[in-house]
Every structure is written in structure tokens, then in C-alpha cells.
């Protein structure tokens, strides 16, 4: 399995990469970690005529704190996220999620920018970014712009990226001190995409949920925010009746595709269970 022929470009600046992507148009694809794109190219499901490799651009893989936000360069690998003290301290759910992506070799190469920008409903980071209220910095032929993660995903493999645009970094507000978090992912084996997964960030006050956000992975053609489910738990102590209500509200917005991971009803069912587990585990961790 060898990919079709293409021309290889290795720009050294974001401006040059944007220029190449704009000029070459639909025939070009940006190459980040490549662990979604290259397998697709080997299967000839993707046949770009030009690859614009972003590895030659300096400074796209830095993790820095900017006030009360963490800014992560698009070319930061999952391995770098896992090795970062700043991420472990400020965004432990990101550490937990990165650890559930594929396997060690893939995590050395796979990037957060590729994961969020590809638009694959199976990718783990998009739902998490929506749960965290992250925003994406894009650079295009007409200059930079910023877009909320919650507005980025429009369909399977279809995002708000305009032709020639590149995602350069992700900005995430640091959750409140003492917040609880959990990413619950059901998968068939190590390295697999989620059959169903749920991300939860919440805060507790006086034994009751004070704030909550819930995101869903691979349960729709785009990542989802389960807003009604999150609303249902606020002000409660997460008793069994509330957990059931929240799971039902989350299941109501799921419309997964039937695939080798199971039929629709099964995936919705376990999706509800992931929401319940993530809520319980997040509450247990809240300080």
C-alpha cells in the first residue's frame, strides 16, 4: 500500500504555508502528524496532489500560559501534551484524554492541531475542546481570525476552515481551581476510536454541582455539547434520578452512525453510560 504520487512542500513560515495552500487550492493538503492522512492516502481514499508539511515551521509546537488561558501550538504532539507539567497541572483532563488516543508511537507523531482540524467525528480532542470552551486561531490569505471550537464543526470532515486557511494554535481557558474532570471512553481495544465517549468538566459547591459542561465524541457526525444534560445536573448532588435524567438528555441528541463498533441503539446506550460515569468520576475529583 503505497500512496499515489504527490509533490512535497516544506515551508518554513506560516505565511508561506498559507500561500502554498491558497495557491494550490483543493489539490493540496496540510501535513501535520499525518496519522489520519497518510493511512487514508495509502488506501487511496485521499489523493492530494500536493502535501504541505508543517514540520519545517518553527514555533508551532509550544505550550504557554497566557494569563488565565493555555495556548497550545497546533503542531504540539500528544506525547508533548503528556510530558507537559503545565498541562498536567492546569488541564488534567487534556492529559487524561491524550493518553487514550491511539498508542505510544502514534502519540509521538499525532498533533493536537491535526486532531481538532481534521473534522473526523471519531477524534477525541474536538468534543473536549468544546467542553473546555476553547477557541482556535486560524491564519488565512486574508489574515488571522479566531473561532470558538463550538462553532468550528459543521459535518463529518467538514469544518469552518476556509480554503487556504491553517489552524495555528488553540487557546483554552484554565478551568476553576478544584474543578472535577473526566473523559470516559469506551473502545474495543487499545488504539481504537471511541465507540462512545464523554467529557465532563464541573465545579461543586456545598455538595451540589455549581457548573457543568458535557461533551460527546463519536456520537454524531460532529462533536456535541450536551447542554440540556449539563443543565439538568446543576444544583443537584448528582443523585441517581438526576444521573438518569442527564444521561437521557444526552442520549436524546445523539445520532451516531452504525459501524463495526455497533448499531445505533447500542452506541447511544453506551453513550449514556459514558456520560453517567464521567459525571460521577468528575464529581468525585472536585475539590
Amino acid at each position: 500500500m503505497i500512496p499515489g504520487s504527490f509533490s512535497y512542500h516544506r515551508p518554513t513560515t506560516v505565511a508561506d504555508a498559507v500561500k502554498l495552500l491558497s495557491t494550490l487550492g483543493d489539490d493540496a493538503r496540510a501535513l501535520a502528524g499525518g496519522h489520519s492522512l497518510i493511512p487514508m492516502m495509502k488506501l487511496r481514499l485521499a489523493t492530494p496532489e500536493h502535501l504541505v508539511d508543517l514540520h519545517g515551521i518553527d514555533g508551532l509546537n509550544a505550550i504557554r500560559r497566557d494569563g488565565n488561558r493555555i495556548v497550545i501550538g497546533a503542531m504540539t504532539t500528544q506525547h508533548q501534551l503528556l510530558a507537559s507539567d503545565e498541562i498536567a497541572r492546569s488541564l488534567p483532563i487534556l492529559h487524561e484524554t491524550a493518553l487514550l488516543i491511539a498508542d505510544p508511537q502514534v502519540r509521538y507523531m499525532g498533533t493536537i492541531g491535526g486532531n481538532v482540524a481534521n473534522g473526523d467525528p471519531g477524534n477525541d480532542m474536538p468534543a473536549l475542546m468544546m467542553t473546555l470552551g476553547a477557541s482556535y486561531q486560524l491564519e488565512g490569505p486574508t489574515g488571522p481570525r479566531e473561532i470558538a471550537a463550538s462553532e468550528f464543526y459543521q459535518g463529518a470532515y467538514f469544518t469552518a476552515l476556509e480554503p487556504g486557511e491553517l489552524l495555528t494554535s488553540i487557546s483554552i481557558p484554565v478551568p476553576a481551581a478544584g474543578h472535577g474532570y473526566a473523559y470516559e471512553k469506551l473502545k474495543r481495544k487499545v488504539g481504537d476510536y471511541a465507540t462512545a465517549a464523554a467529557a465532563v468538566i464541573l465545579t461543586m459547591a456545598g455538595g451540589k454541582v455549581a457548573s457543568c459542561a458535557i461533551g460527546l465524541t463519536n456520537l454524531h457526525e460532529t462533536p456535541l455539547l450536551a447542554t440540556d444534560a449539563a443543565q439538568a445536573v446543576i444544583g443537584t448532588s448528582l443523585d441517581d434520578a438526576t444521573l438518569k435524567k442527564a444521561a437521557a438528555a444526552a442520549v436524546a441528541i445523539m445520532s451516531p452512525a452504525a459501524d463495526a463498533r455497533g448499531p445505533v441503539e447500542y452506541r447511544k446506550h453506551v453513550g449514556g453510560i459514558m456520560v453517567t460515569r464521567a459525571l460521577k468520576r468528575a464529581a468525585g475529583r472536585a475539590g
Binding site: 500500500m1 503505497i2 504520487s5 498508542d103 505510544p104 502514534v106 488504539g191
Partner: protein, 166 residues
């Protein structure tokens, strides 16, 4: 398609070759360099038989292009033995603990385990199992592979290898 001239360091030696952009690193290693210890087991980024060490990372060489590796420092299974030709601690561990049956996955396992032990010289059994989760053995299981890595870790740390109690 025009070929590109690439140079890189493989097992300490400078190598060069002409490759198409679509040439995968594993094909460059096996066919251009004739280093056939790096195997192709699945071609879909799952099995890990093609794992090499590249600039301090374990990577699946079937999922990157040789042009991307230009200038890189690569270690393959052919480069892991000690300088005097004796087996490395991991190679010895795989031999002593019977960490292989058909041996097809072994080069990728050893290269991956070497990086794992460099990052975590004293891994728990759980950490070893997670650390090699990107490498598939299709013969039976992983019990002896885990023991082989535990043996090597003990040897590298200068302590006596002790079998975990059943």
C-alpha cells in the same frame, strides 16, 4: 514524479538515497538501505512491526515519508547490539525469557522497549504493557515479552531479575 535526494543517519552511519515523495520510510530502510530487520506487518499503522527510533521518538515507519526523515537520526534493530557484537540487554532478555515465537514482531518490540526504558528505566508491569500497546504479537500473548523487558530493565539497573510471584 521527480525524485528527491535525502540524507540521514541510520545506526550511526550517514546514508543517502533518491526517493519519490510518496516513498514510505519503511520502504527506504528495507529496499534502499537493505536493512530488512524492520518489518511490514499491517501497513495500517496498527501493528508496530515497522517501529524505528527517530530523533528520540518511537515511530511507525510505515506512516511517514522518507522525505520527512531527511536529516533525522534513526536507530533500527540492526543498530541495537553492543559495540563488541554482544547482545544488548533487551536482546538478551528476549532470548533468555523466550520473548519471541515466530519473531516477526520482535524488532519493533525491541526498538519500542528500548525507548520505553530510556524514558522510564524502572517501569511497572502495567507501564510496560501500556508502553508496548502499539506493538502487536500475533503468536500468543505478551507474557514473555513483558518478562523480557523486565529482565532488561533489571540488567540495565544493575539489579538481579526477580520473577513476579504468581
Amino acid at each position: 514524479m521527480a525524485k528527491t535526494h535525502v540524507t540521514m543517519k541510520v545506526n550511526g552511519a550517514e546514508v543517502e538515497g533518491l526517493v519519490e515523495p510518496r516513498t514510505l520510510l519503511v520502504h527506504f530502510i528495507r529496499e534502499n538501505l537493505q536493512l530488512t530487520g524492520t518489518h511490514i506487518g499491517c501497513e495500517t499503522t496498527h501493528c508496530g512491526a515497522c517501529t524505528v527510533d527517530l530523533n528520540g521518538m518511537s515511530v511507525k515507519s510505515c506512516t511517514m515519508f522518507a522525505v520527512q526523515a531527511a536529516g533525522a537520526d534513526i536507530l533500527t534493530i540492526e543498530g541495537v547490539a553492543n559495540a563488541d557484537g554482544t547482545l544488548s540487554a533487551l536482546q538478551e532478555g528476549f532470548r533468555m525469557m523466550h520473548g519471541l515465537q515466530c519473531g516477526f514482531c520482535t524488532p519493533g518490540m525491541i526498538i519500542r522497549a528500548q525507548r520505553l526504558l530510556q524514558e522510564n528505566p524502572n517501569p511497572s508491569e502495567e507501564e510496560i504493557r501500556m508502553g508496548i500497546s502499539g506493538n502487536i504479537c500475533r503468536c500468543t500473548g505478551y507474557q514473555n515479552i513483558v518478562r523480557a523487558i523486565q529482565y532488561a530493565a533489571a540488567k540495565i539497573n544493575g539489579v538481579e531479575f526477580q520473577e513476579a510471584a504468581e
